[in-house]
């Protein structure tokens, strides 16, 4: 298609910049100067601003061979599996590294064109579906995984045959407030990590003045070691779509946007097909289920930026702006997409809602252990025998998950450390491995559960290296807006890989502590606030490894 045809196709759509840039990127394999000029003119975005924004995204290539060159995951877990060696072997084909691509339960992902292949060596790369979660090893009742393994669940017919859309059918017989009430009573809270009560958020959007309201699904699963949303979207896409439709009904939003991370190309196709099927069957679009309510849903693909999982950045990205986080307040519930009231919810949160509406609030609350309501999908990876996604009741002991459910570390090894919240919660080690999987417990150890990514490191691993890889990721993904994060993540990385000028042990520790304290207290968003968890927990649990690191460099 010509420049003009591409622009005409997208310019009047909601959130047009990303799909238009992708259209050019897909057509040519890269974004030429001419393409960027055409987009600038077509969408009336100042050229320098658009150029700056394009350079922000890791996966927009501005030179050939562009997207046909392999991009190899060098995330923490893939580094344990030989990601760097695989990258090296593909260098002759123009391969470049990419941060964690969200497939830590599989072999090393390599994106070529619009395919995510997996393998451990260049010769054995294969294209295959996202791994399905194994049947719940604890035999406990699940929520979001309760139907995911059913035959045909990813098709509309299969979804409906397994109880899908029962929640929406029930909901449209009642009022939006009924949906808000049941979600509030269920105590469902944001499963992307922030844990904000979903019902309260929806109520705020429903009550906020301004139209059109918007439901945004945060499917930018960028946290290293998290791959649950990918599984949910690939194998049960209609659950999330129904959840968004319920959110739209509850809040009065006619518009929905799914912000999908770049690294899941197959998922984009799955979602597009699912949306089309739902639309064709009166489950999206105008007059849904004959109830008179309207909800239009679109997929927008990111282009490689962890920070776009931060809701302010995500909204700026959708609006075609430079994806810096936004200053809060105001919050998205009043000033979200295009400054209109917006509910930004994680995939898992939304996928839980149809089950909750169909089965009731009490049912969901009772799924958790003790006083903890509900369930959480944990993405478990690293040095365990059966990595994968496990839906656990809140309150399950971590040791049960690692040893009984996932088979424990490789034979002859012991668990040295785990990460929490992907990387954002830092490490847990020593006796603090005896936590239960719920925020009150994990927060009491100075960490948090977050999006539920847990990486396991056995006793053969060098934890300073692991901390370095984590901090290097943060430095790579820091947006560059606020000073403490922009400079702090860089300085921390240098101190962890020994490239900083020689420091005494006291100086090293004092610098790391001072940077960490200031990052935690003054950073503008969660990235800068979370990153010091890595160094803090490294020094707390593994002081002898830090000492060895410093004496090596001396």
């Amino acid at each position: 298609m010509s420049n003009e045809e591409l622009i005409a196709r997208w310019k009047d759509e909601p959130a047009p910049l990303l799909p238009l840039l992708h259209a050019f990127h897909n057509r040519d394999g890269w974004l030429s100067e001419e393409s960027i000029r055409a987009v600038s003119k077509g969408l009336k975005i100042p050229l320098a601003e658009l150029f700056g924004t394009v350079t922000f995204y890791h996966h927009f290539s501005r030179e050939e061979p562009g997207k046909s060159a392999p991009r190899v995951c060098t995330g923490n877990i893939c580094c344990l599996h030989g990601g760097n060696e695989l990258l090296e072997s593909l260098k002759s084909e123009g391969a470049t590294p990419m941060p964690c691509a969200g497939r830590c339960d599989d072999m090393i992902p390599v994106i070529i064109g619009d395919q995510a292949l997996v393998g451990l060596t260049k010769e054995t790369l294969v294209h295959r579906a996202t791994p399905m979660p194994v049947p719940n090893p604890g035999g406990v009742t699940e929520c979001v995984f309760s139907k995911i393994r059913e035959e045909g669940r990813a098709t509309l017919d299969g979804y409906r045959a397994t109880g899908g859309y029962a929640g929406l059918e029930k909901a449209v017989q009642g009022t939006p407030q009924d949906v808000i009430d049941i979600v509030t009573e269920s105590k469902l809270a944001g499963r992307g990590g922030a844990g904000f009560p979903t019902g309260v958020k929806w109520k705020a959007v429903a009550d906020a003045p301004g139209d059109p309201k918007c439901i945004v699904c945060n499917a930018d699963e960028g946290e290293p070691g998290c791959f649950k949303d990918r599984t949910l979207m690939d194998h049960d896409p209609f659950a999330m779509i129904e959840g968004m439709t319920l959110a739209a009904f509850a809040t009065g939003a006619p518009l929905g946007l799914i912000y999908l991370r770049y690294e899941y190309p197959e998922t984009e196709a799955i979602l597009e097909n699912a949306i089309e099927d739902a639309r064709a069957n009166g489950l999206l679009g105008e007059n849904i289920l004959g109830s008179g309510f309207t909800f239009h849903l679109y997929v927008r693909r990111g282009a490689g930026a962890y920070i776009c999982g931060e809701e302010g950045s995500l909204l700026n990205s959708l609006e075609g702006k430079h994806p810096f986080p936004r200053n809060k307040p105001p919050f998205p519930v009043t000033h979200g997409f295009n400054d209109k009231p917006t509910a930004v919810n994680n995939v898992e949160t939304l996928a839980s809602v149809p089950h909750i509406v169909a089965n009731g609030a009490q049912w969901y609350r009772d799924l958790g252990l003790g006083d903890h309501p509900g369930t959480k999908v944990i993405s478990l990876s690293g040095d365990v025998q059966r990595p994968g996604n496990y839906e656990v009741p809140f309150g399950l002991p971590l040791q049960t998950l690692i040893h009984e459910w996932a088979g424990g570390p490789p034979p002859g090894r012991t668990v040295q450390a785990v990460t929490m919240a992907g990387l954002s919660g830092g490490f847990l080690g020593g006796e603090n491995l005896d936590v239960t999987l719920d925020d009150p417990c994990i927060k009491s150890k100075g960490s948090f559960l977050g999006a539920g990514g847990i990486m396991v490191f056995d006793d053969s691993r060098n934890m300073v290296d692991a901390a370095h890889d984590a901090m290097e990721f943060y430095a790579h993904e820091s947006c560059g807006k606020c000073f403490p994060c922009r400079i702090g993540t860089q300085r921390m990385t240098e101190r962890l890989n020994g490239s900083s000028p020689k420091l005494s042990q006291e100086e090293w520790i004092a610098e790391i502590n001072d940077i960490g304290d200031t990052m935690k207290s003054t950073s503008a968003c969660g990235l800068g606030m979370a990153a010091p968890h890595v160094t803090e927990s490294l020094m707390r649990y593994f002081p002898e490894q830090v000492e060895a690191h410093l004496s090596d460099k001396a």
Partner: protein, 366 residues
């Protein structure tokens, strides 16, 4: 006497506690604005009162009771009953650490004052917080753009601290959108589209980016020609002579020499803005080619100096001859934008009264 209405208003005034002191504020004010009004000297680097608050440097963080982390005072609106502490030990330590971090990425904190209006901001804060400690040493950020040979704006990004005041002033105040941020994190770099020269961009060389830069990374190349000239910088407030807007400027001089121009941030017409002419085009004042006496082209075809009396008589005779031969509309007067208002007035009166034509114009109209 206080009227009922006024006393009602007083009762309803919004109040908060600022470092233990009860202070009144208006709805919509930020904590920073209130703190400034009460002379709390909250440090900033990314703040420019003319721009939308951005919240990047985090130096202005303050403690607010009931909020776990310090908040950026520039982006946080005050609310009734807030209890704010602007200068606790913890806050001051964060500020020092932040300044040490900034210093660690920068090649040079000490820049010439001629660089720009705000160019000393970083140095002043580093001195105030004694932050030139050399801690946190490591890679430097920003790469100086030496290939951009434009004659006005120095782009020494070795000294850039990524506060984006230049990008924001260009967009929010000048409306040029000529520059932006490339890359992210520690690799951010201020660029035009496709990393071109400013001359190939939308830049109009208004110089506002130079004047808001807090580190001298953007510098006034014309003023910096006199970096080594002897003498203290003296600033003289005047009005830009170029057009009818009447921008307030501070002419900078060293000894008898005019070395540069800075916009007056409190200029009522310009609030710190200038255009390329007002900002950079002052060389004519002291140019060696500038005429100091009138000249007449004699029969030999060369220009010769003469006295004013002779020159005016010669010109008058020439104009009279043209008018008599071709009529009153054969004369067209264009006043110089560089002339003061009084001269412009005299010029139009001269054209209208002397020749009987309305063919009078001013170059500033173009």
């Amino acid at each position: 006497m206080i009227s009922d209405l006024d006393s009602q208003k007083t009762e309803k005034a919004l109040m908060l506690t600022l470092d233990g002191e009860q202070v009144a504020f208006e709805a919509g004010e930020t904590i920073y604005e209130i703190s400034e009004r009460h002379r709390r000297e909250v440090p900033t680097l990314c703040y420019d009162e003319r721009l939308e608050a951005f919240g990047a440097c985090r130096l202005c963080v303050v403690e607010v009771e009931g909020i776990r982390n310090p908040v950026a005072s520039c982006t946080t609106k005050a609310s009734e009953g807030m209890v704010i502490k602007t200068k606790t030990e913890a806050i001051e330590k964060h500020r020092k650490t932040l300044l040490e971090l900034v210093t660690s990425e920068n090649r040079n904190v000490d820049v010439n004052k001629l660089s720009g209006y705000a160019s000393q901001e970083l140095k002043i804060l580093v001195d105030r917080y004694d932050a030139g400690t050399g801690r946190f040493a490591g890679k430097k950020s920003g790469t100086s753009n030496e290939k951009d040979k434009n004659p006005f704006i120095l782009r020494d990004y070795d000294n850039c601290i990524s506060c984006y005041r230049c990008v924001r002033v260009c967009a929010e105040r000048e409306g040029d959108y000529a520059i932006n941020v490339m890359n992210r994190g520690f690799n951010t770099q201020i660029i035009t589209e496709f990393e071109n020269d400013l001359r190939d961009s939308e830049c109009t060389f208004c110089g506002q980016c130079v004047q808001t830069c807090p580190t001298g990374a953007l510098g006034d190349k014309k003023a910096l020609r006199d970096a080594d000239t002897e003498g203290e910088i003296k600033k003289t407030r005047t009005i830009c002579p170029y057009c009818g807007v009447g921008c307030s400027v501070d002419m900078m001089s060293k000894g008898d020499k005019i070395v540069g121009v800075q916009p007056a941030m409190d200029g009522p017409a310009n609030e710190g803005a200038l255009c390329i002419k007002g900002q950079f085009a002052f060389d004519f004042i002291q140019n060696a080619d500038r005429l100091k006496k009138p000249m007449i082209r004699r029969d030999d075809g060369e220009l010769h100096e003469c006295e004013w009396e002779e020159a005016l008589n010669f010109a008058a005779a020439g104009f009279a001859k043209v008018r008599d031969k071709f009529g009153r509309h054969s004369v067209y007067g264009i006043a110089s934008g560089r002339a003061p208002h009084e001269a412009a007035y005299t010029m139009q009166k001269y054209i209208r009264a002397t020749y009987g034509t309305n063919y009078i114009d001013n170059c500033s109209r173009a």
